[in-house]
Amino acid sequence: MPDSSPIRFFDEMSEANGRVREHYAAFSEWLEGQSAESLASKRAEADLIFRRVGITFAVYGDDAGTERTIPFDIIPRILPANEWQILEAGLRQRVKALNSFIGDIYHDQDIVSAGIVPKEQILANSQYRPEMRGIDVPLGIYAHIAGVDVVRAGAGEFYVLEDNLRVPSGVSYMLEDRKMMMRLFPELFSLHRVAPVAHYPDILLETLRAVAPKDREDPTVVVMTPGMYNSAYFEHAFLAQQMGVELVEGQDLFVDDGFVFMRTTRGPRRVDVIYRRVDDDFLDPLAFRADSSLGVPGILGVYRAGRVTLANAIGTGVADDKSIYPYVPKMIEFYLGEKSILNNVPTYQCRKEDDLAYTLANLEQLVVKETHGAGGYGMLIGPASTKAEIEAFRGALKKHPKKYIAQPTLALSACPTFVESGVAPRHIDLRPFVLSGQTVTMVPGGLTRVALREGSLIVNSSQGGGTKDTWVLEL
């Protein structure tokens, strides 16, 4: 079990003896030459620019005057190219296997017959969509866009924390953070060979066009948003603009005669591929939540008939659930015949009696999460919790053991970060984005999130997290 004490963690920039790692050498030297005042003024400039550009998220229930920016840290997270290559291979492998898994469970369920994943783990999962049974999707791809959360722990090895296969967000921050760094510190980019990421929207568009319904020569692609008050609205608008496609809301679309159309100033126009940033539940009020005003009545029928493509597909949530997560390494073996390149975090499934007993006996050392939770809510971080908090969680666990999994508390790696007290280590994670269409593609890097509070392991922006630019460096 990894050590849970907050002191020992992998430092991205320096070795244990204080020597700066090779890939941080040039940066470290540059950083030495910067005064705290100049860094602070650069940080203030970044915040100002983010506000002016409107890279903000709305705070629910507030008016337009109280949008927030996500704190941006001016010290990049640097990965050497050789480490990135391993990570990239591992992520491609993982997403390929997950796509095969989703296709399998909505068709023959070979993995269940083979006795690898228990049937009830799938059928009893609220994210399993019986509507998808027997439906063939273009190229057999379900999760076209995946955002896999990766952390470094122990002596620096990578662990996958979570496979986000529904509507992962954050890619706009990856792109905007890079733009910001180039704007604030152009000199750094002549000192380093940083792999570019700006072509992400192009490969996203290529991916989406590749999965259009058959026989559509020049498919119409749109991005579908829940609307401008959604916290990720900036990203939706940004991606639509960068790809040069329409940003639609549910009310802009309608189903007629077996096809989906959008309402334009020149009449209806057929839509072929919808990159939807709306959850399954809200997509079609006739099929799912009847009270949804965000969706398009009847779209499920068109989708099932193969006359429109949804990206991601309906029903991918069953594969990124925390209760399915423990089976991913076995999926990789089963579908690809390969060994998993990236580590899974050891996971105790509290629905199992032994695992529950172990969890209850070791709550002080474990992280306990809800199987369907997200955003850093509904979880217990044992080492950072009070006795009372632990006891409260113990009650909840005993009552609904199936709702929870437990994992050892990982000592997340830390990266130097510019905080109030100067430059100090803060814990980080990484969300690279994997695009699956004709091929599986990635841009080098991803979104690095940083827990700005000292000692905190929670990187979510809803809980005081910030972001950093992520550099994959050719040495």
Binding site: R51, R52, V53, G54, A64, G65, M228, Y233, A237, F238, A240, Q241, E246, L247, V248, E249, Q251, D252, F254, D256, M262, R263, T264, T265, R266, G267, P268
Partner: protein, 328 residues
């Protein structure tokens, strides 16, 4: 393009134009309140503001008193007043935000920065210290918003719908500004025809008070210098009316606005829009070949009332033809 997108662009442009015109009217009031005049007359000017914007009822319902201070706050920073400058700039920015992907980066940032700066200005007491400087700022943000569209945007439907919004709103606002005297006098209980010299082509100078009044009207639409240049003569009400209604080369005149409405409509034409285009063309032709004497014969207020109805009709028809979400 998406009907909803066109709708947002249309309203984005309308709201910033409305904010500009409100600032213009308020500024004129501030300026004229510096002239020696009775308190009743000063109050009259402020109340006329409410009259032309059809906000009198709302103002009274809000429990405000008719002091210049409260009137100004109501028109500038009252979030409950949908026509206040604050509300207009917020609405403009919200509409821009809804279609930020359709705008150029510069265009979006202009609208967004306007909103951010407004909040700073209002916190910073600029309005209290130097109201004219504040109104000047609003005008220039509006100039900038238009300019950045013209200077950076592809001349496609997005651009034309925004332009439609600008000129429909300006046509409406210019007509209201010209009609202000009618409202002011009505408030003060002295309902007289505002143009005693109607029928003559205004050769005799008006009295001292009227001079300042009509000069203020001209200034509010940036037309004071234009008037001098065009007429090289004393200011008479009928010439002011002619300039602001019938002169196609005066960029805020009714003719200039309606001409822009007509030509932008022609560029977005679709299967439903023939009747709207016909009505716009007809209105433009009437302005183009109209004579100020005939208008004054009819009565300026009656004429403007009819004009406002027709502009509103065009606005409604544009919505119905292009912006409302048609199924087929």
């Amino acid at each position: 393009m998406l009907s909803r997108t066109a709708d947002h662009l249309f309203w984005m442009a309308r709201y910033i134009e409305r904010a500009e015109n409100t600032a213009r009217m308020l500024d004129v009031n501030v300026q004229t309140s510096l002239l020696p005049q009775s308190e009743a007359r000063s109050a009259e000017g402020w109340q006329a503001m409410l009259g032309i914007s059809e906000l009198r009822e709302k103002f009274v319902a809000g429990g405000h008193s008719f002091s210049p201070r409260e009137l100004m706050d109501f028109m500038v920073r009252d979030a409950k007043n949908e026509s206040s400058i604050l509300s207009c700039l917020r609405a403009a920015r919200e509409n821009a935000r809804a279609v930020r992907g359709t705008l150029t980066t510069e265009a979006w940032e202009t609208y967004n920065t306007t909103w951010l700066e407004l909040n700073q200005l209002l916190r910073g007491k600029t309005l209290e210290r130097d109201p004219s400087a504040f109104f000047e700022w609003v005008k220039f943000r509006s100039h900038l918003s238009r300019g950045v569209m013209i200077g950076t945007m592809l001349k496609d439907e997005s651009f034309y719908f925004a332009r439609l919004g600008t000129f429909l709103e300006r046509a409406d606002n210019t007509a209201r500004i010209l009609d202000v005297k009618y409202h002011g006098l009505a408030e003060a209980g002295q309902l007289v025809e505002p143009l005693p010299d109607s029928g003559r082509h205004g050769t005799e100078p008006t009295n001292y008070r009227d001079f300042y009044y009509w000069a203020a009207v001209l200034r509010s639409v940036s037309a004071f210098e234009i008037y001098r240049k065009v007429y090289r003569d004393v200011i008479t009400p009928s010439r002011v009316a002619e300039l602001m209604i019938l002169r196609g080369d005066m960029p805020r005149s009714l003719l200039a606005c309606v001409d822009e409405v007509r030509s932008n409509l022609a560029k977005v034409t679709n299967d439903h829009s023939q009747e709207t285009e016909r009505r716009a063309g007809m209105l433009k032709a009437e302005l183009e070949y109209g004579r100020i004497d005939d208008i004054l014969q009819m009565g300026l207020h009656a004429y403007l009332t009819n004009f406002l109805e027709r502009v509103n009709d065009l606005g409604r028809r544009v919505s119905a033809d292009f912006l409302v979400l048609h199924q087929a």
